[in-house]
């Protein structure tokens, strides 16, 4: 296998780690403008080229022999241009890093087969740490649209929803579902009430996960309405009394 690696210093080590397990050992060529990458390539005995001008790349016939192009530059405009070159070289598989989620369509236009969105992964992973009572969905793989959606319960822990209620609506969906307790143990008792600190996890193909999230969200909304009505009623009685 021949792999063309167009990378900035920010992604070079990461990509070399990623392709380190490929067997048999592939032939790699690294294209980069950064001296740090040149040193890395030299020490690993990998062929290196620093001339990334479009005119030069378009006339490099040897690039046409490559089976896979992995493009990972710091700016999306460079990823777009290099994807265009790789496409014109008829490289059969093109993978590109996406730095800004909003530029995804431009990479698709250039014929990139797999887009790895670092931005989305980072943003959503940060969100899972401190955002509660709302869904955070993280895309896991480029081959299938596998998504893990997490919902960390804090305020919604007072609503009194049981695991059985959620299981009932989720049964019809094409997803895997689990409820994790504070300690990380998977809850199996359907009569258990969802409490503060629990985490709902839904895994599956993106569209299915979105549907499942909507179904669960409807249960939460229904209970929130009931709770709000009860609270208003109690408040009314208390002020009258």
């Amino acid at each position: 296998m021949k792999i063309l690696l167009a990378t900035s210093k920010r992604y070079a080590r990461l990509l070399l780690d990623a392709i380190g397990d490929v067997r048999p050992k592939p032939k790699i060529i690294i294209l980069s403008l950064d001296e740090e990458v040149a040193i890395l390539a030299k020490n690993l005995g990998i062929e290196y080229r620093s001339d990334l001008t479009i005119e030069r790349l378009y006339t490099s016939e040897e690039l046409e022999e490559y089976d896979l192009a992995i493009i990972a530059m710091d700016d999306d405009q460079d990823n777009i241009v290099l994807a265009r070159v790789a496409k014109s070289m008829n490289i059969p598989i093109i993978i590109s890093i996406l730095n800004n989620t909003a530029n995804r369509d431009l990479l698709i236009r250039e014929g990139v087969h797999y887009i790895v969105d670092v931005n989305e992964f980072t943003v959503n992973t940060i969100k899972t740490i401190f955002i509660s009572d709302t869904w955070v969905a993280i895309k896991l793989s480029g081959i299938v649209n596998l998504v893990v959606a997490l919902h960390r319960i804090v305020r919604r822990g007072i609503l009194g929803i049981t695991l059985a209620e959620i299981e009932e609506v989720i049964r019809e969906e094409n997803v895997k579902f689990m409820l994790l307790e504070k300690g990380g143990r998977v809850v199996t008792d359907a009569s258990k009430t969802i409490e503060t600190g629990d985490i709902i996890v839904v895994t599956g193909i993106e569209d299915d996960v979105r549907k499942a999230m909507d179904s669960i969200e409807r249960i939460f909304r229904k209970h929130e309405e009931i709770f709000a009505r009860r609270y208003a009623e109690t408040f009314r009685i208390a002020t009258r009394g």
């Binding site: 700016d75 405009q77 460079d78 800004n100 909003a102 369509d105 431009l106």
Partner: protein
């Protein structure tokens, strides 16, 4: 009108990059694109949005979101990388001073080979203008063609694509820096009496922007021995 258009229409391919940092600017895209298409063929076009957060609208031509946001100078380099044509036209969608005539004159002039770089410079708001006069204009007014660069706002820039492929830009502009890199007889700067507004998102940053520009210009001029020690 149709007669004048037919008379002035020329058959050439120019790449167009329109840029804005507001949703209002994006809504102008269709109109501006239709106008320029009336006069010449556009080979490839992009809109670069350099504000934040990302717009919710989907414009009719490909939209690129700039990272980091608010770096107007960088968007020229990004635009030059995205397109493949040797001539590139940048249109500031946030400008109040866009006129058909300006656009057509600019494209005509460059296609006919009268110049390689052209930009229109409208009057600017006091904050930016004062900062510009204080730190930049005094230094560059002795040098042709920069003497015409009286204001720090820009409506249209058109030039050879290779001129914009540079790392020399500031968060606010690239125009004065690339004008210095281009043979002076091939640069045309057109001052416009129209009063342009500076987008509200960057208001308050005039002094910072102009100080950065002044530093970059000083380095450039000094490295060429064009600036005397006393200045």
């Amino acid at each position: 009108m149709a007669g004048i258009e037919a008379e002035r229409r020329f058959y050439t391919n120019v790449s167009t990059v329109m840029y804005t940092l507001s949703h209002r600017g994006l809504s102008k895209t269709k109109y501006v694109y239709r106008v320029i298409h009336r006069y010449f063929d556009v080979s490839e076009s992009y809109i670069i949005f350099y504000g934040y957060p990302r717009p919710k609208v989907s414009p009719p031509i490909p939209l690129y979101l700039l990272d980091p946001p608010y770096s107007r100078g960088k968007l020229f380099v990004v635009g030059a990388k995205l397109v493949q044509n040797p001539v590139i036209l940048y249109i500031n969608l946030d400008s109040n001073c866009l006129k058909e005539d300006l656009l057509i004159d600019a494209v005509e002039g460059i296609i006919d080979g009268h110049f390689q770089l052209y930009f229109t410079v409208p009057l600017s708001t006091p904050e930016f203008l004062e900062a510009y006069r204080a730190s930049v204009y005094g230094m560059i007014k002795e040098f042709k063609p920069l003497e015409n660069l009286q204001y720090p706002s820009y409506t249209i820039a058109i030039g050879k694509r290779k001129l914009f492929l540079t790392a020399d830009y500031t968060p606010w502009s690239i125009e004065p820096l690339i004008a210095l890199d281009t043979p002076m007889e091939l640069v045309r700067i057109r001052n416009d009496t129209c009063i342009d507004a500076i987008p509200e998102e960057v208001r308050g940053f005039g002094k910072i922007f102009m100080d950065i520009l002044a530093k970059k210009l000083t380095l450039k001029l000094a490295s060429r021995g064009m600036l005397k020690q006393s200045k």
